[in-house]
Structure formats: structure tokens, C-alpha cells
Amino acid sequence: MTEREGVALQAAVRADAGGGVREEASFFGGPERLFGVTYLPPDPEVGVVICSPIHAELLRNYRREVLLARSLARSGYAVQRFQYRGSGNSDGDPAEETFESLCEDARAAVDRLVGTTGVERLVFVGTRLGAVAAAVTGRTAGAVALAMWEPVLNGERYFREIFRGHLVSGLKKAEDGEERKPSQELRDRGSVDVLGYSIDRPLFESVRTRRLIDDAAQGAPPHVLLVQIGGGRGLRAEAGSLVERWREAGASVRTHQLEGSEPWWFGGTPQISGEDPDRAGELTEVTSQWMLQSAPPRS
């Protein structure tokens, strides 16, 4: 356990072989503590905050984010990964999670990274709903660059996709004669069980009523990367519109499309179950190369 700035931290530290990078896993913040890992190369000048997706998507993307963080740290970036309150190893009640609380936790991660390293230039990377939380938090933190992996730009559609998982699960359970209408269940009970994850009304309402595409578009940093997975030829309509708005605002925008589809709510850890084992590599490569050009680790 280490002591820093008068706050007791529960931390474990390891040195990455050969790279001179230290990884520090810790619980930080409070009173409800967040779990996170800070990647510390020698004398970093640029910090990267990685905002995860939530629910099943968190596990799906977990290892990719670890591999990205290690790769960036080897290139000289300080990196902060973290888990939102109510998820992963962090404290908190998932029923109290809202879009605003995701952004608050991202802000706590910024404080942790800046407090640990003193970096002044920040880059944000986010996936799915975490991509929009990254955009919003990055705006207030003065981010110099933003990378979004498969961002959620429409709250209604996001929950429709999630509830599709619920319906598929319901098919299996229909053997028991149970009726399953997720939106009704959410209204009546305040939560709905989707494949072993509780979707609660506070999150539902906070996301559904937001114009996520506006959240993502407003005050874009000078450099933006948008990664879309699947979707056929070209960007999807909303992603295309977002890119246009960024460009109109003067941002330098790069887009990248990965082939195939991403079953965010189904299957296991993709690298283990053999689904697209190279996707993590491609995401890491594309994002690292873009970042090296957009926000080099050394001035």
C-alpha cells in the first residue's frame, strides 16, 4: 500500500519487462472507490484516459483496452484505465449508474492520471457509450485528441439492441411460459434483466433522453479518430453526420472501418472464443498510429 497526497491508496505495482513502464493497479477516489490501472512510462508528457463500455460490452472489450494501454505506454504515453462505479471491481450500486455518473468517474480518472504524472496534454479513447462519456469529459478537460470505437450515437437504438438480447434470452426461457417485454418490465419494476445484467431506469432515462450525437459533436478536439466495426461500405449515417460536423468545426478527422460485426452482448471473451483474434491487434495498431501522429508523446 502506498501513501500519496494524504490519501491512502491500495495499489500494486509491476514493471513491464524491458519497456521501463510501470503498471500500477489501484483503488482510488472516494467515498466510493474506483478500480483502475495506471501505466507509467518514464517522464510522460501526454496522458491517455480510456473510457470503457458498460455491462456485457465491458468484458467484451476488456482485453483490447489492456493491450492498447500497454502498447501506448511503451510508446511513451501515460495511460489511465478505470472501471465505473457499479461495475467491475469498483464500489457502487449499478442501479445508480447514469450517463452523468459515467462522466464523473471519467473525470476522477483524469484527476488520478494528472495527479500521478503531472501531464497537461490529454487524449481520450472510448468505446460504445464510453466513447460519448470520453467526448464529454474530454471537452471539459481540454483534450487534444479523441478516439471513439464504435460510439453509441443514438440512445433509443442502443437500448433496442440491448433488449434484443433480452428477447433472445426470453426465447430460451419461454419454455417456462414466462412473458418477457423489456420496456414494460423496466417501467413496472425499474429494471430489467438482460442476459445477466440489470438495466436500470436511471441509466436508461439518462441515456435515452440525451442527444448523444450532439454530445459527441460539440467542442471536438483538434484531432479525432472514429472507428466503426462493420456496417458495410462507408460509415453509417449518424457516424457520417458526426464526422461532417467535426470537420465543419475544424477538426482533423480520421475514420477507420473494421470488417465483420461485433456481437457486443453475446459470446465470451472474443480472443478466447476464437472470434476475430486479430481485431484487438488492428484496433491497437490503428489507434496507436493515429495518436503518434496527432498527439505525439514528446513535444
Partner: protein, 324 residues
């Protein structure tokens, strides 16, 4: 089956749980890799016993689906246990290449290193809790370990290489229907290549039915894992309490029942109270609903707590921030 068998417990009252304030991340070495674990200290008077969990393979990380293993650790902390969860090599925060999870090659080295790490915190009596692949990993380790106070096995597959080696054509028709209705199988219908695989499988199944390939398995129990049987026998011989948890709708449980006609049945008869079997409603493998998650957590925690209900463990106040 003479081994103690009972139905699912009612959901039990919650004790004050441990929180992240009582948790410490720990890096530890396992072979060439560095794994990340989290030690949870008890929020009440300590039993000085650690609940070490070994996650299932498919979800990968030590958190499990919907952070089920985190919840188990903190709930156990509320009952006086230390708890330890960790990421296997190549998974989550740990180093190393990602590998497939094969039942006949469990990650014993990782679990053993985790157990040694917990000992390093001064907690030398351990209850192991493993899920599916993790259960088989626990079974591979515990016969060689000292200080094993109990073993909880959730959905331990009874055959080696179920995921890898078993011919799908050996599934019975009812089993097949259940497998076919799993969410990820249904989701596979959206993919062209997956549909082609299903079609190929159905053809093979029809062929197998014509050649009456299935009936042999009812009498030939050679598919029952020797490791599974041997480990259970050694634990019974050593007087280590064992908890087996199955969902009554799971394929693992059906195979467990079928195997009762052979050596497993004899073992269960001789085990008496040494092996407790809990069947929970439905399909718990994969934990794809909240109720089954909580039932499994409560079952493990309640059973482990019961092992020390008579003051069997050496009470020693290590709770709170000053604990190990």
C-alpha cells in the same frame, strides 16, 4: 445417490459486505507471467480462512459476468472470510498470451501461485470455489495442497475436453434442443458461416441417428473423467468437504446423473455427508440471469460459512483496515 443433496436455499439475508476499501490489488508471478489478483479482507471478525475463486473460462476475467466473483468475494468478506480472485494468464490484467481453455489442461500453475500469494498474507486455510473450467482447475490443484478447508465446484464438467473433443453428434435430441436455444447459438443464425456450420452439424446428426451412435454412451461410461473421479475420491479420503452445484437444466448435471450408474455412484454412496450436492433451478451455466447469479453466490457463501459455524476455524481478529 447417498451424498447429501438439497435443493436451492432461500436467498439469505445480507451481512454487511466488504467494499473496495478492504481490497488490495496484488501482482504475483505464475511461471513466466505476472497475474493480477485482488485480496478482499473481511468486514467482520476474521475466520482467518480465504475463499479463493477460480473463474470460468468463457467470460475470462476474475470479475465474471456482471462482476459475479467480485460480489461473491465481498459477500464472503461479510461472513469473516478473506477472499482472493485473480485473472488467469493472458486474461484481463494479467500478462501472457491468450490461450484456449481446455478442460484437460487447466491452469493449475496460476491457481497454485494464487494460493501461495494468499499464504503470503498469513492466511493458510483455504476454501476453493471454481466455476466450470475453474472448477476443473481447482480439482487439479487441491489434492496436492495443504490447508484445504473445503472445495466448492460449480458446474464442473464431468468429462475431459467437453468443449474441444466431444462429438456434437453425441448430444441427445433433448440436449440438442436446449443447446440450440442458447442465446449465442441463436445469435449465430445471423452469421452466414455460422449457419453453414449448423447445417453441417444437422447433417452429421442425422447420419449418427441412422447408425445408432448414441445408445452406446448409456452403458459405456468411459467418457467420465478419471481426473474428476480421482480428485473427488481423494478429497473424500482426506475428509475435505466438497460442494457440487449444478443447474438442474444443465447438460453437465444430466451427465453427472448419467454417470451415477458407474463409479461415480459408488463414490457418492461412500462419501455420505462429505459431498454436498445442491441443484439450482434451470440453467445456471453461463449465469445469464441475475437470479441464478445470486443463488450461486448465496449457495457458496452459505455453505462455506456453515463449515465454520461451530467455531471450527481459529477466530482471529484481522478484520477492518488493520487486517492482513
Amino acid at each position: 445417490m447417498d451424498a447429501a443433496e438439497r435443493a436451492a436455499p432461500e436467498l439469505i439475508d445480507r451481512a454487511p459486505e466488504s467494499t473496495a476499501a478492504l481490497e488490495t490489488p496484488v501482482y504475483f508471478e505464475a511461471g513466466d507471467d505476472v497475474l493480477l489478483g485482488v485480496l478482499t479482507r473481511p468486514s467482520v471478525r476474521s475466520l482467518n480462512v480465504a475463499l479463493i475463486s477460480a473463474a470460468g473460462g468463457l467470460r475470462g476475467t476474475s470479475m465474471g459476468r456482471n462482476r459475479m466473483m467480485v460480489r461473491l468475494a465481498r459477500q464472503a468478506g461479510g461472513r469473516g472470510f478473506h477472499a482472493f480472485r485473480f485473472d488467469y494468464h493472458g486474461v484481463g490484467e494479467s500478462t501472457g498470451p491468450i490461450e484456449s481453455f481446455s478442460l484437460d489442461a487447466p491452469y493449475v500453475q496460476d491457481l497454485e501461485a494464487a494460493a501461495r500469494t494468499v499464504e503470503g498474507f498469513g492466511v493458510e486455510r483455504h476454501v476453493y470455489a471454481g466455476i466450470c473450467f475453474g472448477a476443473r482447475t481447482v480439482m487439479s490443484l487441491v489434492p496436492s495442497r495443504e490447508g484445504v478447508a473445503g472445495v466448492a465446484l460449480v458446474e464442473p464438467p464431468i468429462r475431459d475436453g467437453l468443449r474441444q473433443g466431444r462429438k456434437l453428434t453425441r448430444y441427445g435430441n433433448r440436449q440438442l434442443m436446449r443447446v440450440a436455444l442458447r442465446p449465442w447459438v441463436l445469435a449465430g443464425l445471423l452469421k452466414k458461416e455460422q449457419r453453414a456450420y449448423y447445417a453441417k452439424f444437422v447433417k452429421a446428426k442425422l447420419h449418427a441417428a441412422r447408425t445408432k451412435d448414441e445408445s452406446r454412451e448409456e452403458t459405456d461410461l468411459s467418457w467420465v473423467s478419471e481426473d474428476y473421479l480421482g480428485t473427488l475420491q481423494r478429497l473424500v479420503d482426506r475428509g475435505v468437504p466438497v460442494l457440487l452445484v449444478y443447474g438442474d437444466g444443465s447438460e453437465n448435471y444430466r451427465e453427472f446423473l448419467r454417470a451415477q450408474t458407474g463409479r461415480l455412484g459408488e463414490l457418492m454412496s461412500s462419501a455420505g455427508d462429505g459431498i454436498e450436492i445442491v441443484t439450482l433451478p434451470g440453467q445456471i451455466h453461463g449465469f445469464s440471469d441475475l437470479l441464478s447469479q445470486q443463488r450461486v453466490i448465496d449457495t457458496i457463501e452459505g455453505w462455506a460459512t456453515g463449515l465454520f459455524a461451530d467455531g471450527d476455524g481459529p477466530p482471529e481478529d484481522l478484520g477492518g483496515e488493520d487486517g492482513a
